[in-house]
Assembly symmetry: C2
Homo-oligomer: 349 residues x 2
C-alpha cells in the first residue's frame, strides 16, 4: 500500500448479528490491526460497546454513536423500515447516505438491511434492481455469484445489469481485467431454461458489451474454477448458495466422523492435519464473509449473522477494499456505458 | 425375499449412455448376480451386445432384441421422438407400454427418454405433469428430491402432486411409513418465495392429505438428515442437484490434493484410508444412480449417462425394487385418494 493512503471511514452496526456487539467490536479490532487506514464508528448501545473497545488493541480512535434501538432478527423488512429510524442499522446506513462514512457493515437482518439501504442510499441511475453478491471458494480462484436472494423474480434486463455489476465487483476486489462470466441454467444448450434466460444470454454475448461471456453454466460448474462471475436470479442463487453450504457441512461432518472411527484413523488424521488445515482454510466460510448490495449509491456490506470476529473482520475488509478501489464511481461508469450501448442497439431496431 | 418371488421383467436400452453397451450389459450382469428373479431383455445392436453377454456370468437367459438405431445424445426431445421409433430407447419403452416388460432402464438422453416415456406410457390419471425423482445421501438416512428437471415452471397443483408422488416413491423404496416432506424455498418464514409456493405450502399442511409436512426448507437443509422427501420445481431442483455434485467433486479434489501434499499427509491417508473408504462409499454417486420418472403408467428409470457398471446395476435395482413393491398401483391409488380429498375441499368452498 502506498504511503498516502486515503482514510476509509466505516460505519458499523454494532447491534446486528447473533454475537453482537462483541463479534462486531472484536472483528473491527482485527481489521484495524491489519489495516492502519480504517476510521471506525460504531452505532449501538454505548454501555455495551464502550467496555469492548476498552479491551481492544487497535480501536482507541473508534467513535461510538449511541442508540439503544436495534432491528430485530424477526422483523420483516417493512416492519423494520416503518419502526426502525432510530436503530443502529438505520443510523449506520444514514451516515453513508449523508457522506459521513464511506461504507456500512452490518450482520443484522438481511431483508431489513436491504430495504433500509435501498431507501437511504437509493438505487444507482441505470440500475433497475440492486442485487446481493458474494465471493466463494472453488478448486481454483475465487468466484463471485449474484443475485443471492434480493430478487425472487428477474427478467433479462435485470440479469444483464447483474452481469455488469458483478463484473465491476469482481474487478474491484481481484483486479482481474476480463473476468469470465456465466449465466446459471439447467443445461448448456441454447434452448434450455426460462425464456428470459435465453434473451439475457443473447444480450450478454454481444461483443460491444465487453463481457467475457462463457454462455450458460450449470450448478456443477460453479466451483470448477473456470468461472469468475456467475449471474442468476435471487431464488436460484439462494438455492445454490445454501445447497453448497449444506453439502460443505455434510462433508465436514462425515470427514470428522471417519477420522474419529478407529485409533488408526485418528493417528492418520494427526499426521495429515497440517495438510488438511490448508484445505480447511481454503473453504472456511469466514474467509468469504461479506456479501455486498450492488447497484446502490453507496457501499453496504452484509455479514453473516452467525459469524465470529474473524468472519466479521473479513466483511470489514471487503468494505474497505471496495472504498480503496473507488468501486462506486467505477461501477456507475460501467452501468452508464452498458446502458448507452444497449440503448443504441434498441434504436437500431 | 420370499421363496415365491415374482419374476421382474426388465427392458434395458443397451445403446444409451457414454459407455454403452458394455456398461449396460456388465451392470445387468452384476444386478442378476445379486437378484435371481430378474428377466433381462436388451434392446440394441445384437452384434455388439451378444459377445458381451457371452462373457457375462449371470446373463445366459437374457434376450436381445436387435436394432441398429439409437437416440443420439445431441438430439432434442422432439427430434428424438420424430425420428426415433426404431431406436433401442423407443423399443425398450414400448415393451413396458405393451406389457411385455415391467420396467425400462436407460442411460440415454434424458429429454428424449422423458418425451418417449410420456408418449408411450402416458401420464397417470390425476397427474398433470410427471417429475424426475432420485435419492441422495445425507448425514443421516437417504433423502429423495423431485422435480430434478422435467418441469421448468411449476404451479401449486404440480408441487402438491409431486409431494404425493415423492411420498409414495420414498415409501416404496424404503418402507418408511410417514416420510418427512419439505418444500424447497429461500427461507423458512411463511411470507418467503414465490406466491405458488405459499399456496402449495398451505395445501400440503392440510392434515386430511396425510402428508408429514415439515414446511419450507432451504438448500442448507437438504442433506441434514431431517428430511425424507424434498419437493421443488424442476429448475431449482436441477440447480440444487448439480450444485451438490459440483461441491462434492470440489471436496474430493481438495481432499486428494491435501493428502498428496507431504510424505506425512500421505502416510496419514494410508492409515485412515479404511475409515475414509466408508465415507467414500456413503457419498458414492453410483450408489444413488437411477432417477425415476414419476407420474407415468409404467416404471422408467434414467441412469446417469456417464456411470459405470456398478452405477448401472444400481439403476436396475431401483427399477426392480419398484416392481417388487407394486409401486405403480400404490402410487396411482395415492394420487386418486389425494385428488378426491382436494376435490372435496374445492366443493366445500
Amino acid at each position: 500500500m502506498s504511503s498516502e493512503v486515503q482514510k476509509v471511514r466505516l460505519a458499523l452496526d454494532a447491534m446486528g448479528g447473533d454475537n453482537a456487539p462483541a463479534c462486531v467490536v472484536r472483528g473491527a479490532d482485527i481489521a484495524c490491526g491489519e489495516h492502519g487506514h480504517l476510521e471506525i464508528t460504531f452505532y449501538g448501545d454505548e454501555e455495551k460497546v464502550r467496555p469492548l473497545i476498552e479491551r481492544s488493541r487497535h480501536l482507541s480512535d473508534a467513535r461510538v454513536i449511541h442508540t439503544s434501538d436495534a432491528v430485530s432478527p424477526d422483523d420483516t423488512a417493512s416492519q423494520a423500515v416503518r419502526r426502525g429510524k432510530g436503530t443502529s442499522m438505520w443510523m449506520a446506513i444514514a451516515s453513508v447516505a449523508d457522506g459521513t462514512a464511506d461504507a456500512v457493515v452490518s450482520a443484522g437482518n438481511t431483508g431489513a438491511l436491504m430495504a433500509m439501504a435501498k431507501l437511504q442510499l437509493r438505487t444507482m441511475t441505470g440500475v433497475t434492481r440492486p442485487a446481493i453478491a458474494a465471493f466463494f471458494p472453488t478448486v481454483g480462484e475465487l468466484m463471485c455469484m449474484l443475485d443471492l436472494g434480493a430478487n425472487i423474480e428477474c427478467d433479462a434486463e435485470n440479469l444483464v445489469q447483474f452481469a455488469i455489476l458483478g463484473q465491476a465487483f469482481h474487478h474491484s476486489l481481484t483486479g482481474k481485467e476480463s473476468p469470465r462470466l456465466g449465466l446459471l441454467n439447467i443445461g448448456e444448450e441454447e434452448q434450455k431454461g426460462h425464456g428470459y434466460l435465453r434473451v439475457a444470454s443473447r444480450r450478454l454475448a454481444d461483443p460491444d458489451l465487453g463481457i467475457n461471456y462463457q454462455g450458460f453454466v450449470e450448478g456443477s460448474d460453479l466451483v470448477n474454477g473456470q468461472l469468475d462471475v456467475v449471474v442468476t436470479d435471487g431464488f436460484s442463487g439462494n438455492i445454490a448458495l445454501k445447497t453448497a453450504e449444506g453439502i460443505s457441512s455434510m462433508f465436514t461432518r462425515l470427514l470428522r466422523r471417519s477420522f474419529a472411527k478407529t485409533w488408526l484413523s485418528r493417528l492418520g488424521y494427526f499426521l495429515a492435519r497440517s495438510a488438511l488445515s490448508d484445505m480447511r482454510r481454503h473453504i472456511d466460510p469466514r474467509s468469504y464473509n461479506g456479501a455486498v448490495f450492488l447497484g446502490l449509491n453507496g457501499i453496504a456490506v452484509k455479514s453473516h449473522g452467525g459469524t465470529d470476529r474473524i468472519g466479521f473482520a473479513n466483511a470489514i475488509n471487503v468494505a474497505a477494499e471496495l472504498v480503496d478501489h473507488g468501486f462506486i464511481p467505477d461501477v456507475s461508469a460501467a452501468i452508464e456505458r452498458a446502458n448507452s450501448i444497449l440503448e443504441g442497439k434498441k434504436d437500431d431496431g
